[in-house]
Subunit: 204 residues, 4 copies
């Protein structure tokens, strides 16, 4: 409905110009409505931005969730999740810019929204790492603090690769995911010895 058009426009402008440089005039014009209407539906620039963040965060987590099947082995789940993540960010660059760049740069109220979403994703990855450790019968267990750092690094690498993949033409979500899986799962040391993590064959 009307509100969605406005959010579409806002995400696009916020994503490209940045929160502060975006003007409500421009957003209204791109949405094809008058400025007062924007204020009627979304009360202020802050509220509008928050609504954008929430919508994009929900869309991204939903995309990842939809890409993963819970029953499968941990590496397969990670692989699927990464592909979904890279595919979604590639398809919604402005939304990704809002989440990854804009929201974190403009004060606590906004950053907190993204932090919440990120925490959800980091928790998901952390669970996967724990499962993998159990599957590998690792003993003794990895210390918790270490796991947190690893998950953080993995998510950070993914976020960074998303920007890289978007900016490097010809890089598909699949390739980005494969690169990261190799890096993360096998490790550079293994890679040196030729031990490469192999993505499972695609059905389609």
């Amino acid at each position: 409905m009307r509100e969605q058009q406005m959010l579409d426009a806002a995400v696009r402008i916020f994503g490209q110009r940045g929160y502060m440089a975006a003007s409500m005039d421009e957003i209204a014009e791109l949405a094809g409505v008058s400025k007062p209407l924007v204020y009627l539906y979304l009360n202020s620039k802050e509220d509008l931005f928050t609504a954008c963040i929430r919508r994009e965060a929900a869309a991204l987590t939903e995309a990842v969730r939809a890409g993963v099947r819970p029953g499968l082995p941990a590496d397969r789940q990670l692989w699927d999740g990464l592909r979904a993540f890279f595919a979604h960010t590639a398809e919604h660059p402005d939304g990704w810019s809002v989440l990854h760049l804009q929201a974190r740069t403009h004060g606590e109220p906004f950053a907190a929204e993204v932090t919440a979403m990120r925490a959800e994703i980091v928790a998901f990855v952390t669970r996967l790492v724990a499962v993998a450790a159990r599957e590998a019968h690792r003993d003794p267990d990895l210390p918790e603090h270490e796991v947190a750092g690893l998950a953080e690094a993995l998510v950070g690498a993914a976020e960074s690769l998303a920007a890289w993949a978007n900016a490097t033409p010809g890089t598909t979500a699949r390739q980005a995911a494969a690169t990261l899986m190799n890096f993360a799962w096998a490790g550079l040391g293994n890679l040196m010895r030729g031990q490469v993590w192999t993505p499972p064959a695609e059905p389609a």
Copy 2:
């Protein structure tokens, strides 16, 4: 000289308030000079911001370069570089904010500056990976595109961990570097099997 004071002030204000929210008034006041003087030395807000980016980028790359000794083995070089990187970003949070957050959020001209610096660092890491591959007599060689992606992921993970380390009290540069080395060098798969990358003993 006078220009450095202005840049100091600008980096601090830009880093804390963000590019758009920073006002030239505030910067001039913090620098202890009059506003027209700022315009005399640095022609506009954009130019001032660009100068900040360039200075901080140079400082960061220089810090990393100074931390690394070229003759040593690749893993040692990476370890040293990471520690220098985490130490520098921890000591210059405003500068890091300007580079990592602000510059990337406000349009091409600024983002390009950071991209250039980043490219330099990625190239350095890429060389290290290539050296490591040669040291390990890996055969066949890793494809170039793959190496680029790995370096990208490594740098992205480092950037992400820098923010995480800054925000997590009690996390030292050394710990952050160790976490990342473990992740990168050994790989999760190895970690599962208990093969941990061990940092070399510290001399001091």
Copy 3:
């Protein structure tokens, strides 16, 4: 009917917020009708305000008229009129605010409405003074211009006392009227007997 509800709401809002700060939205909401309906009955904000002024002016003059019995002596008529006036303004503070404060502060068209009502009351008082003069067989007659000024002063004092009585808790309409009668009638009584205060001679 419906129109009266709207005027009730309008008087309340105009009286409390002031003409400009009052919003048609608020008035419509308080009246329990939709905004277009307000525009249907009363064409614009200006017209609505004018209607409020007229209604409140009529109510006030009617209240005073109803309080006075024409046959009685002049001082009794004045006393009754003042009591009615103070009682009405105390019971309708918003209406009095509209007449005394708002209408006079927002340009000619509105001020003129109040001026008309005021003229009616001043004329009534002027008649009373004339009657009193006749009753006192004053000779020679007070000049007309003087009588007008006295009536004006009396009405002004009453208006001022109304605000004072409203703002001073525990002051009844009766007390306010008594104070003013004391002030005014004793003075007028002297005037009737030809005892005039004479200004000192001017040097220039």
Copy 4:
């Protein structure tokens, strides 16, 4: 200096249009300066309005004070004060409008400023009445509450007559003062002698 020009313009616009209807644009234009300059000297519309009120209040009380010589008899002091008051309000109608109409209609912070000035004037009049009572050897003393009401009524009558005199062409400050003195002094004179108007008994 520059600030006075702005206040001149502001008093004129506020006095004629009213506080809310006055636009900073119009004020700046009339002052012959740019809008930001107005904000540089006087921080906001509210502050500007407050500054106007203070300046006009000071000017009015100063004019009255300058017109009165303390040593003279009470009636002469009152006469002189009234003439000064009517002369000043006639010469500064916009300032008078700001004080008498605008400031009282737009919320406490502003009304309080005028209330303070008015309290000063009422106190002055109250002292005069007390002096007059002593001069007339009145016994018993007028009750304090009664004196307050009388002073209030006298000041209110004066305020009201000021508007009347301004609006009635050919009425001089001298005439207005004479009318009010006649009204007030004769009345007060009687009161001094203990001649009080007695309200008729209430039936209920």
